[in-house]
């Protein structure tokens, strides 16, 4: 890496995508600069509901954030990235589309779906806000989740945890899945910037010309594989040598 190293290490906090990156990290042959890696699904780190829909960060999570701050880490966040698949992987029983307004499906214009998605992501967005508030004035980046897989056959062959739902309802069109993922990305990007951070898009080497996840990065309907994880780690480590955020 050229340039000045601004951060000695990074603290990575997030949901299932962090777990996928962790595998890449552990299997990597490169010297990686990860300081702390926190998976928010784990009970001791899992944010909980406080009254009035506020987010309560558990003490262990706060301890890690404080440690990262004191060591001058770059904070890398990957919150709620899988949620586009809640609304945008399988067909809903009341089928809808964001892109096809001529079919029998209910057409939901993107502006309306964005409001729906924002509402759906409310808890995730509040977690992001709470963590960033705890990070304070330190720099942070939010990771864009991996784009969707274009190939329906792949999704049927490797359905992951969605097997039952995919069998029952089938998979939404690639166009709709992509639009829904874009809307989720836009929401997280907007919030990240509004909170003073940066939004790190999926590695371009892992994305096809039409914006879908490249075949080399395929794993399951939600996550990238080790190669994808390594590409993300490379991106993060580049940031540590970039101009200050």
């Amino acid at each position: 890496m050229s340039g000045k190293c601004l951060y000695p290490k990074y603290t990575l906090i997030g949901h299932s995508h962090v777990a996928a990156i962790e595998v890449a990290y552990e299997c990597s042959h490169k010297q990686r600069a990860c300081g702390y890696l926190i998976k928010l699904h784990e009970p001791e780190f899992k944010p909980v509901h406080h009254h009035s829909k506020k987010v309560l960060l558990p003490d262990k999570l706060i301890d890690v954030i404080d440690a990262g701050k004191s060591e001058g880490h770059l904070f890398v966040l990957s919150i709620g990235g899988a949620h586009h698949n809640v609304l945008g992987l399988t067909n809903h029983p009341t089928s809808f589309s964001l892109t096809d307004y001529k079919s029998n499906r209910a057409f939901l214009p993107p502006v309306v779906f964005s409001a729906i998605m924002r509402n759906h992501l409310d808890w995730q967005l509040n977690i992001l806000r709470a963590i960033v508030e705890k990070i304070g004035s330190e720099s942070f980046v939010c990771l864009q989740s991996p784009p969707p897989v274009y190939d329906k056959t792949r999704l049927l062959e490797v359905p992951g945890v969605y097997e039952e739902q995919i069998k029952m309802h089938g998979v939404m069109s690639a166009a709709d899945r992509y639009e829904i993922w874009c809307i989720q990305s836009d929401i997280f990007e907007e919030l990240s910037i509004n909170l003073g951070g940066q939004f790190l898009k999926a590695p371009s080497s892992m994305v096809t010309s039409s914006g879908f996840l490249d075949k080399r990065a395929w794993r399951d309907p939600t996550h990238g594989n080790i190669e994808y994880g390594n590409a993300v780690l490379d991106q993060i480590e580049e940031l540590m040598y970039a101009t200050p955020l």
Binding site: E22, A82, V86, L87, K102, N119, V161, H169
Partner: protein
Amino acid sequence: MQHPYKSSPDSARWKISVANLIPSEVDPVSSPPFKIDKSAKLVTAGSCFAQHIARHLKASGYNYFMTEPPHPIMSDDIAKTYNYGTFSARYGNIYTTRQLLQLFDRAFDKFEPRDSIWRLLNGRYVDALRPRITPNGYSLQRDVEADREYHLTQVRRLFRESEVFVFTLGLTEAWVSNLDGTVYPLCPGVAGGEFSNENYTFKNFDVDAVYDDLAEFATKLRIINPQVKFLLTVSPVPLIATATTEHVLAATTYSKAVLRVVAERFVLQFSDAYYFPSYEIITGSYTRGKYFADDLRSVTEEGVGHVMRLFFKHLAVEGLEDSPIFIAQQKDEHTQKMQGVIDTACDEEALDGVFK
């Protein structure tokens, strides 16, 4: 020989049927030519007062027919914000009969307004024929066009399948495009677009114009849907502003008078057409103004309740309780299941794919 008034019914006598009754007992509804059963597809359209009727019909257990219903993944707040369920389709307020006629013609490809997409000050786009349907507009012009095309498909379906068309006549005043006569629900420049005297003209439709448009609409509708019944009301809500040179109170009286005459003429000319006197129920002097809120425009819930109570009393086939039966919101089980899958997915899933 006795004069006719000797044998007139109580309902024909002011003292008996209005002055001497407590307000909630006043019932100016005459015998309708048809009744509505629970299976009949009821459609609403019209001015803002029609939204009250829509709201109560939805909650009533009757077949309130919507071709653009709220999707189960939508919360109530989002549905309301984006006007899903406000009317039977997302056409927004239809204030004039010319607007209604043009909606029909647009739906069946007989009319395509040339000036139909406006920009907001923030650069976003609105559908000029329903500028408030999506607050803050659309980011892309093509999104307006896509949503409109879908909407008109649903409007066609609505016109074809409706069994009782409930229309609330709202205004006689409108702004009209000089290019092609398009009537807009709002003056250009109010919610998008830019006003100019060169491009737009104010029109205050008279009785003949309002009637002719309504009659043409009804005739066209009955060609594609011969069995449809019409139920007309006149909105009791005064004008928020007039573009005439008259005082707004005088302009309001004129508008409502025109609309009331048109409604009367219409039901005399068309079979299976009925005028429901919600205007009279709300504005009748017997209320002493209590069915209007402090702004003297908004209709109170008490007033709407009186209207709907009489609506169901006289028009419903089965007797209906005064209180509407609220239908529990359909839960979106599918999304809840998918959410559950995400929530329970954990590290094992990540490790599972390591060696693939």
